[in-house]
Each structure stands twice: as structure tokens, then as C-alpha cells.
Amino acid sequence: MTEPRDELAAVPDIIDADGGEDFTAFATSRWPGLVRLAFGLTGDRWLAEDIAQTALARAYVAWRRVSQADDPDAYLRRILVNTSHRRYRRRRVTEQPGDPPDTPVEGPADLVGERAALLAALHQLPPRQRAVIVLRYWQDLTDAQIAATLGCSPGTVRSQLSRALAKLRVSPALGAGDDQ
């Protein structure tokens, strides 16, 4: 089993004496996880950082509400995913299957190909299906948590997940057919 994927939840809460989280500490601790989540949703590192920045700025605006929420990370995650969908809504019609990700994938040589293939395969999915995959398999969220993040029903999450997996199974980017 790998390490926990949900960095947003893995970071200990920083609670001051009044019970309200300090925004600076909150933003600093959540930043890496937010960027990675946005990167999973967009495949573009710089766009991911921009989306993470926008999400945290929105959280700052609603800080009283965010800090007093039962689960501030869920609130922040919802802001980020919505921000990502808005930014991509106009662009997705230009996406073409097989496009490589904009961001170079760094790391050991034997892993680079696999990471690039995964990003390319995710890039083929519609944004909502991509979000379901990332939230399920990286953030380890339940159907109900994903539904709350995306603003849909758990049933919709399950159907989107099923469709996304079906597409990934036949994705040339992931070497579909290699094992036949």
C-alpha cells in the first residue's frame, strides 16, 4: 500500500486558541496538495499553480466560512475543482485525443514514460471523468465525498467512474492491447 494520497487531509490542522485556523499557515500547508490535485485535473503544471492560487484566494475571501466548516479541506477541494472546471470549460473543445501533456514529466527515466502515458490518457477524458478518477485514486475519496466535491449524486459518480475506467482500459496511451 502506498502513502496516503490525500495531502489535504494528511496535513495536521493548525488551530489557534480561538478555534479558527490561521489562513497563512493553512494556505502554506495545503499548497503542495492543491497544486498536485490541479495538476492531475489539468496535466499542466503552470495552469495547476494558477488554479491553486485562485482557489486559495477564494478561500481567503470566504475564510470565516471555510475555517469554521466541518471539513475545511473538503470546502477547499470543492473550490479548486470548480475553478478548474470553469477554466477548462472553454478549452476542452480544443482537446484532441493523443495530445501530449504540456508539462514535461520529470523523474527517473523508467518512470517518465509511464507518467507521461498516464497524463496523456487522463487528458483524453472529459473534465468531470478526469476529476472522478483523480479524486478516487489519488485522493482516496468515497463516492459520497466525490459527489459532494463535484456537486452531483453518488450515482452519477459511479457512472462517471465506470465510463472513465472503460475509456482508460482502451486508451492507446496506456498501451491498451499490449497484453492481448
Binding site: 502554506t28 492560487q53 475571501v61 520529470e106 498516464l118 485514486y137
Partner: protein
Amino acid sequence: MTAAREPELRRALHDTLQALPPSPAPLEAIIRRGRRARLRRAGAAGGGVVLAGVIALAALTANGSARTAGPAPVPLGPVAPGGVIAHGTADGHQWRLAVQDIADPGYSCLPAITINGTDADPVYPDPDTGAAVALGSALPGVGFAFVQLPADITGIVVNGDVSVPAVTVAACGLRYHVAGFAYSLARPLRVTVANPPPGWPPVFTMPLVSTEPPSTQTTPEKAGLWINTSSALGETASYDLAFGTLPDGQDWVIKLQFGTGGDCYELLGSSSLGSAQMGYCGPVSTPDGPETIMALPLGLPDPGTGATGYAVQVSPGTDLLMATLSNGSAERAAFCVVDGRKYAAFIVPGPLRLAKLTWFNARGRAFASTTALPQYGYVQFQP
């Protein structure tokens, strides 16, 4: 991939996303964007609340983390008429700095500092903000600058010998306490606070502005672009103006970022062979001022091809912008409204070139055209 391979998907996602090393959290930018959004919301809620917020923010920013014992906020003075913060004559040319709404009629107010009614620089209720601009051949050797000040600072001193009083102007339901002035580009600019209160730094660092190349980080790359101090807010709005696919299958998108750097455009292209991009910033037009026509040539990675993206910030009376290409064909440019200002953007695939732009009004009448078009960078045109 089979369901049994979902653990592999989980592991691959983890490896891929964990391999991304994020940069340090840009806390300053995040909080500034958040503050600006708060103020915009407050602006929508009511002027009295806004004024209180501005004063509170002025006190907060003036005090800052290193100025915890700063002065208490004081009421802003009378409002100068017409948003004019400074005016005068330089080398026989009249000049005027003002805060005005630069959005097209009917859209949400968008405050900006303008020089002679154009070359707008978005302005925020942040007392640390300042910027300078040079107009190049239009007024050589002269620079213009403004500094936003806390309410309790009465003025500044330029280069040690010219006193410039701060005035209060109103725009878009907010008040701005600003000092504006013209100065000679022949020597470095030094701005000090006239009577700094306890805890307030006496010296503002303004950029050194020059009309001569080469440009550096502190000099404009072209006349007409405001150079803001480091404390100025950055991006105000961003938008994808136009996008599509070239005949050879390459995707493209023309993006806009409007902010203190001006109107900054970027053309991004991608194909199975890779991606490329080209960006450039130009002056911010006002409804009555000249329009900026921006050209972004891009050698897309497919050999023998290439394309040039064009973006134009068009006047509010424009209903249609028609692009005539070198082969005689005509193309209707797509319109977008960003922060209350209308833009048109389109792409010209190589080897074609843009030959002419024609402006049409709502009645379908052509009221302006030009063949003086850039191949790279921008030109300004008054329809």
C-alpha cells in the same frame, strides 16, 4: 487496463502527482487577490461599507507586519472633480493624470489611472501602489507617475525639491488618495514622503523609466506601458479570447491577461509534435482612446507551417471586426467581453498574412479600416 489493475492506476497516479515539485506557496499574491475580491464584493454591497473597508485596508497595509505601531486611519479629504489627480504642461504638451472608469458603457465599473484619457493602468485601493509611464516619441524625455498613499500622508517630494500634494479622487464607488506628477527622464527618480508619520518608511522606490533601449526589468519594453512598483497587484482578469484548430490539425488558443502589466496576450499552439507559445504585452486602451492591435507570430512545430494570432481591444461602438487576408479572403473576428472591455481575436495560418482590418458598427456600416498592421508586437490605431 482491467478492474484488477485499478491498484496500478492508484500507484501510477500517486507516482505521477508526487513527482511534481510545487514552487513555494505564493502567499502574498494569494492574499492580494483575496483582498481585491473582498473589496469588489464590498463595492457591490455599498459605498459606505467600501469606504470603511478602504480606510481599514489603508491602515492595515500602512502598518503591515513591520509597521505594527503605525498611525490610526484618518478621514480622506474632499474629492477632486473629474477624477483628475494631476495636470500640467511638459514641453508644450498638456498632460493629465486621472482615475476613471475604463469599462465599456453598460458594464461594471473598472477603475484605472489614465494619462490624457488613455494608456490605462488598473488601480486598486491599495495605498502601497505606484507606477510610472513614458510616452516615447509622443512626449520624449518626460515620465509620468502616481503613488497611492495612506489617508494620513499629505503629499510627496519628487527628487528632493518638488512638493506634490496628495489628492483624493473617486471612481467606481471607491476613493483613492493619490499623488501624481511629471518628471524628467534624464535622471533617476526618487520619491519621498513629505511628512512621514511614525512607523511609515520615508522613501518610495519608483522604477527608473527610460525611453531608450535596451529594456530591463525596471524600464519599459515599449512606450505606453506602465511600470508598477513591486507592491502593485498583478493580474486583474484572464480569459481565453479565441481558440480552434488549424487546417493541419494543430490546436491553438489566444489568451488574455489584463492587469498592471497592461493587456498581455499569449498564443499557445499544440500538436502531436509538441507545443509552442508566444506572448506580448501592450497598452490598455480606454473606450475613447486608440485601440491596440497585437500580433503574435508562432512557428508551430509542424515544419513549413506557422501562424500569427491577432488580438484587438475594440471600441464599444464596434459590432463587427473583419480581417482581410493576403489571399483576398475575409474572416470575421470572434468577440469576447473581459472585465467590461470588448476584444476580438483570430488566427491567420501561414503562409497567409493579415492585409486589412475593417470596423463595422451595429448598422453594418464600415466606419474605419487600416492596413498598417503589425507582424509582431503591437500598433495603436484610432478608429
